[in-house]
């Protein structure tokens, strides 16, 4: 049988397919290597299905348009790379505060500043957690293959809608500019989540109501529910407040609506961990080199396994600790100067050794480099 869904797909276009599958109908962006093909793909595909594509004047305008589109009831995203993400952080913070669901794709390249446009990197991992100022809890996912990129983009939209929050997809140049022969998901194969709409009458409606799950139902602007949206700290009605009890309630809401449901958000890939004495903990494109290194080391008789973090933020403290309980050594390879290694170190028992393997010269970690590190720590 001919699989018409099978195609040689570019990582950046996998985002487009995943997003459209999840219901994305609005894209605003400003082109930047290595993310540009996401915008190109959206400009081709969205008009065909009644969606809207806008090339904005810059990244600040782009994320502003995305927030506005989402408030008017449309699933919206943008795509950029490190320098553009830096410009976007103010309005991403606005989206956290106003609890506006949206998806931001950061195709990471070397930095700081304009850095290395065509070289992969994982140096924005902490930025995805701490980009905007203030207290909030971030969600970020990290695919490692073209196929993953489709499913993780769908998941990112589902999480954004489910929790009324921005979600960052941490891609990198290695995945974004890679083409893989994959089968696209068929309709119905993946669940698609939509934001909960209010059932209260417009007169009784509270736009930032404190509900049991922490997530307030969200109408689209123009549906008859009139309310205020502001980046200032606000009460359940959306009005600015300086009352300590209401301030604390709002900030607790931003945190608890996510952390109380972490098990819905955490996603790990576990390989050969049953009897593992040494474990690699990785995320993003590096995971593929790890997978080969672990398979080769296992054939040579080494009890080593791997844990891949599809969800990087919120950091899966408890789940990771459970899987690492039998390991006495952990290696964290990253394409940066050491970011997630600190998070892993934070959750490990004091007698577990932690080793960092870092590369930040624009090239990617190879399976042989991982095996050399494994030999060194054994």
């Amino acid at each position: 049988m001919v699989d018409t869904q099978r195609k040689l797909l570019l990582g950046n276009l996998a985002c487009v397919h995943g997003a459209i599958y999840a219901g994305m109908r609005f894209f605003a962006g400003y082109p930047i290597t290595p993310s540009t093909e996401v915008a190109e793909g959206c400009s081709r595909e969205l008009p065909r299905i009644g969606g809207r594509f806008i090339q904005m004047e810059d990244e600040i305008g782009s994320i502003g348009a995305v927030v506005g589109a989402s408030v008017s009831g449309v699933k919206a995203m943008t795509a950029t790379s490190g320098p553009g993400y830096s410009l976007m952080v103010e309005n991403i913070g606005y989206a956290y505060m106003t609890e506006t669901p949206c998806v931001i794709i950061n195709v990471q390249r070397g930095g700081p500043s304009t850095g290395l446009p065509t070289k992969g990197s994982q140096s924005d991992t902490m930025q995805a957690r701490w980009g905007p100022h203030g207290d909030y809890t971030a969600i970020a996912v990290a695919p490692s293959t073209v196929g993953d990129t489709v499913t993780e983009t769908i998941r990112a939209f589902n999480l954004a809608e489910r929790f009324r929050t921005p979600v960052t997809i941490l891609l990198d140049e290695v995945i974004s500019h890679q083409r893989e022969m994959i089968s696209l998901p068929k309709p119905g194969e993946h669940q698609v989540v939509d934001r909960v709409k209010p059932t209260a009458s417009p007169e009784e409606f509270e736009p930032f109501a404190h509900t049991a799950g922490g997530v307030s139902p969200m109408p689209a602007y123009g549906e008859g529910y009139r309310y205020v949206i502001t980046g200032l700290t606000h009460d359940a009605m959306g009005f600015t407040t300086n009352r300590p009890d209401e301030i604390k309630l709002k900030l607790d809401k931003l945190r608890n609506k996510i952390l109380n449901f972490k098990s819905e958000i955490t996603k790990l890939r576990i390989e050969m961990m049953d009897d593992a004495e040494i474990a690699f903990v990785s995320y993003g494109s590096v995971s593929r080199a790890v997978l080969l290194a672990v398979a080769l080391a296992r054939k040579a008789g080494v009890k080593v396994g791997m844990i891949q973090l599809y969800t990087v933020w919120p950091f899966p403290d408890e789940e990771l600790r459970d899987y690492l309980v039998g390991c006495h050594k952990v290696i964290v390879p990253e394409l940066n100067m050491g970011q997630v290694v600190r998070e892993v170190g934070r959750i490990l028992p004091p007698d577990t050794e932690i080793h960092s393997l870092l590369r930040y010269d624009g090239e990617i970690l190879t399976p042989m480099q991982l095996l050399e590190k494994l030999e060194e720590v054994m």
Partner: protein, 193 residues
């Protein structure tokens, strides 16, 4: 440890790795995309295409790898090349060391002159494109035709179909001719051996 781990590692040869390399603007990345698509029409094969280039639009080193396997491809980049195409002297100098000792080296013999081995195939792809196919821009496609002939990795018809799916309107004949010329010239050399 009685034996060093690295000495005990055996990399299984279940992959076929191709690299197209040259200078930015020679169409190495597009060439590898067309090659990967043509190979991927065989449903029993898994294919990954990756690329590496500089920030310049023209010039600068450009390379693109195609990895083919019947098994799941964990690591997407090439590790030991089974075939290396070099369209410039610089790319040969830079990537020759990545070629497996039994790998196949193919060079544009009109542009590459210092070749560190006698064991290679040389064809003047750029000159053939300009003089026979009708435009210098199809040099990458001439090279693809030759790769199909030298390696047998993909049927010529599948390659032509993939190339034409990328050809701008009005260039179909030049592109088809380019594949045929590359294939024909490669067969002439291959038969001599």
């Amino acid at each position: 440890m009685e034996h060093k781990l690295l000495d005990r590692i055996e990399i299984p040869h279940d992959r076929f790795e191709i690299r197209l390399s040259g200078s930015g603007g020679q169409g190495m990345i597009l060439g590898s995309v067309m090659l990967a698509e043509a190979i991927g029409t065989d449903y029993t094969k898994r294919v990954i295409q990756t690329q590496s280039y500089g920030p310049e639009a023209r010039g600068g080193a450009s390379k693109s790898d195609v990895v083919i396997s019947s098994n799941e491809i964990y690591y997407p980049k090439a590790m030991q090349l089974d075939m290396l195409l070099t369209m410039t002297q610089e790319s040969l100098d830079r990537y020759y060391g990545d070629l497996h000792k039994e790998g196949v080296l193919i060079v544009d013999s009109g542009l590459v002159t210092r070749i560190p081995t006698d064991n290679y195939y040389g064809l003047p792809f750029t000159r053939l494109a300009r003089e026979e196919a009708g435009h210098v821009m199809v040099a990458n496609v001439v090279a693809l035709g030759a790769i199909a002939a030298f390696t047998g990795i993909v049927p010529r018809e599948n390659l032509i179909e993939a190339v034409l799916s990328h050809a701008p309107r009005g260039t179909e004949d030049k592109n088809r001719a380019a594949v045929e010329i590359g294939y024909r010239e490669a067969m002439k050399i291959a038969k001599k051996e």
